[in-house]
Symmetry: C2
Subunit: 206 residues, 2 copies
DNA sequence: TAGATTGTTAATCGATTAACAATC
DNA sequence: TAGATTGTTAATCGATTAACAATC
């Protein structure tokens, strides 16, 4: 249902605006101008206004934006007015840390299923989640409404695991494995690879 | 000394090329055409050639690119012909997972110093690293050649911690805290925020 | 040589920014 | 009303892509 005509790069900035608006709200602010928001978020005011105008006119001329109102609208645009249940596959160091991370639930993303292949890890409980055998993916996912997966398996297992997840109805994957996944149209992938970011940084370190 | 005229977006793709070339090398390949690389990396062949041409002519017409030769060149461009020592500040769940993560060292990034504020964590050893009191940042960094920091402290401590790191000579920060850091010119920041990525993904989940 | 593929110039496309009218 | 600030149109800028000459 996402309007197909809105540039993805615009969409990618909305979560950033939302994050900053939430900060402002917590600080007790009620109204913010695009100039003030620009200062906080590090994006030109005119670009913020242009981005928002793709979705509607949320501001008041001469005043600025009502923070609560704008947050509501952004949450609605980004489909955040619901809890998103997630599966995590791969419960190693990183997987465990992500299961324990409070930041997901705080924003409405809840890890409800954890899968691993290692018999020593299967059956252990982490932050209230009992790790299941990855073999049970079929049954576990079939009876659920999970559409998002966190992929934290070793690189050499990532593609086949992703394929299996997609075969079982997963529509979005946050991929922590350092490889480029090939997936069918209609499945969204976002990659998190700190090494790539570091290599980008070192380019600028003389 | 990085040529200042090369678009950052071009630089940001080089690590991706390097990653894929390393895969190909491990698979025993010796030469790759921009078409084949394009297929693997998901970026148009013409764009790969254009990107590379900013730095030189690394290919052979009619043949393609010698993989080892291109890897060498990319590593040199990205300043990867050295070990980059790093400090990590914040040894919670995520920090511990990152200290244990093998992927950094494998690519020449080595966490050599871990700092935390929590007395229960200070003094503990993780993957061979003894966690130090963050109060010792001054002495620890002064006598080192560490220029890169991983920032894994809680959001409310991130800005002040980043300021302290910069005051002690850190030039690049990989920021895992869900806030936008304000730092002086000349300090590079890259952000890793899975929640922002998830919120971007859910836009497309009807 | 013919075929394949690079590297580069020029054209296109899309995103950012400037200018400003609208209006609270 | 005057001042502030949005939302939008038009101009600019920069990145991607197409076309193709060069050449291994």
């Amino acid at each position: 249902m996402a309007k197909p005509n809105i540039p993805d790069i615009v969409v990618s900035r909305l979560p950033l605006y939302l994050q900053t608006l939430n900060h402002l709200l917590r600080e007790g602010e009620e109204v913010v101008s695009s100039d003030e928001l620009s200062e906080k978020v590090g994006i030109p005011a005119v670009q913020i206004r242009k981005d928002l105008s793709f979705f509607g006119g949320f501001g008041v001329k001469g005043k600025g934006y009502d923070i609560i109102h704008l947050i509501d609208n952004l949450r609605s645009i980004l489909n955040l007015n619901q809890i998103w249940p997630m599966v995590i596959v791969g419960v190693g160091n990183l997987g465990q840390a992500l299961i324990r991370y409070q930041g997901f639930a705080r924003q409405g993303f809840e890890i409800v299923l954890a899968l691993d292949i290692n018999p020593n890890i299967i059956g252990t409980e982490i932050a209230g989640i009992v790790v299941q055998d990855v073999e049970t993916m079929d049954t576990a996912l079939r009876s659920s409404d999970i559409r998002i997966a966190l992929l934290t398996v070793p690189a050499n297992a990532a593609q086949s695991t992703a394929d299996a997840l997609v075969a079982h109805g997963i529509k979005a994957i946050l991929n922590y494995a350092p490889i480029i996944l090939k997936l069918p149209e209609g499945v969204r992938v976002a990659n998190i690879d700190p090494v790539l970011k570091l290599e980008h940084l070192t380019y600028y370190l003389s």
